[in-house]
Symmetry: C2
Subunit: 276 residues, 2 copies
């Protein structure tokens, strides 16, 4: 059996979990709480400034587990798809500057009803940015999203699909990000975790919980322990598959966003030790 964590050495605050905090507040909050990792969001990096964000984390001794997010490749016109790829190149530059372990790719929805066509556009977009990312030492992590987001956020809906897309490249170029909220329901979850890990393609592991009933399709994720996801079992599988990197707590939830940030971080630490 996988043992509970004895410490928070691998714990990362994904900035969205304390969405009301700006970059400085989030970095300071992690430092106060002894949380050693942070996952940054591009809008908050932009608000604080790229080099300022890097310096804030560096001065606080924080490491950057990921930058969220590139992707959103499908679009109705070639010009718009080109603009999305350019934006992904900027995201790669930012990830390189920040020293992020991985650039997370949320691949985007179809511009129309053609979901297979949109998947092809995702594949084309990734192919365009891989050489650019490789030159800058940035790994790309395809994050399959829960199928309930297929129409609005990602046509990549399963770990199997994400891993198959990643396998067109080396594990140093493209891998996958396993987020329990997105994958817990999958009958193929455990074999697919093993498959993704077999050549070192698991580039990130995100935790939260699925609460019942869900208060909102987007802002309804729960704190670990409040829902039905078998967190420790999935963590064990991800570790068995070879992943020993940072574990991000990524929670979209209005009630949690309305709490004082320090309380969220304290609760996150407690639940991480109890449930992950």
């Amino acid at each position: 059996m996988t043992q509970p964590f004895q410490n928070i050495d691998r714990l990362s605050l994904n900035q969205i979990t304390t969405n009301a905090w700006n970059m400085k507040e989030a970095v300071d909050g992690c430092a106060r709480a002894g949380v050693p990792w942070i996952a940054m969001w591009r809008d908050k990096v932009e608000a604080a400034g790229l080099s300022a964000s890097r310096k804030l984390a560096q001065d606080a001794g924080l490491r950057v587990s990921s930058l969220c997010r590139g992707g959103y490749f499908p679009a109705a016109t070639a010009a718009e798809r080109r603009a999305r790829i350019d934006d992904n190149r900027r995201a790669v530059d930012e990830a390189a500057e920040l020293g992020a372990e991985v650039l997370v790719l949320v691949c985007g929805p179809a511009a129309d009803r053609d979901i297979e066509g949109a998947r092809a556009q995702v594949a084309e977009g990734i192919a365009e940015i891989v050489p650019y990312a490789r030159e800058r030492g940035v790994k790309l992590g395809i994050e399959p999203l829960h199928p309930m987001y297929a129409a609005q956020r990602s046509v990549v809906t399963t770990l199997e699909q994400a891993t198959t897309m990643a396998q067109l490249y080396t594990p140093e170029e493209v891998g996958v990000v396993v987020d329990v909220f997105h994958v817990w329901w999958d009958p193929n979850l455990y074999p697919q975790i093993a498959r993704a890990g077999a050549d070192g393609r698991i580039l990130g592991f995100h935790v939260s919980d699925w609460i019942v009933p869900m208060p909102d399709m987007l802002l309804g994720r729960g704190m670990m322990g409040d829902g039905v996801i078998e967190l420790r079992k999935i963590r064990a599988a991800v570790e068995e598959a070879g992943y020993t990197g940072p574990i991000e707590v990524e929670i979209f939830n209005q009630a949690i966003w309305d709490m004082p940030g320090d309380e969220v971080v304290d609760l996150m630490k407690k639940r991480y030790l109890e449930h992950c």
Copy 2:
């Protein structure tokens, strides 16, 4: 290319679509509109009486495409699981009496966090009722539900999984029901439709649409044409796989439930001819 339908010979009103109607109103509504099939729900059958429901449909010349629903096998105790199996036997009896083409199985959620354990309980439950159903000439159709219902309605979340479960039995005993709302997001959809159809295991086909944004996780399905699902493409695949039976319109949507039933049926006919 699959051609649009020229008539409504295969159209079935799933009773939930006109949820405000009781059995007599639904049968009369189908008869007025020339809809040749109806899918019945057990609560409405119970309210009208079993033999009265059968006679209503028979007198109106309606055929029963399915009875909704059996299933809900997992439970916390052996006694409760036994009670669920007994209830499924009653559902088989009702389906036999009604002459329904198939008894739809919505398999149920886990009683706790153990989703794999719940799946085993589903398999055990189906194994218990197959001989009973076979003796009464009732086919069982496992309906995979959208993964967003994994915590509350079904631990069977993909067509692949449902077909694998069905394949323990003959196609005359157990098959699958393909509902576009539940499966449209699946990267393996088309190969899995072909697989399910290869030995005649597709026992039903349900249509509706995925509207954006979704007004409600349970009551947010759309009328065909109002959303993003490639209805005609999926219908073509199901037909290519050999299914030529009734096509149920099954819509859980409060706004549609609040419309006069005759208007719903008219709209359903129009959209079926335009989009399916």
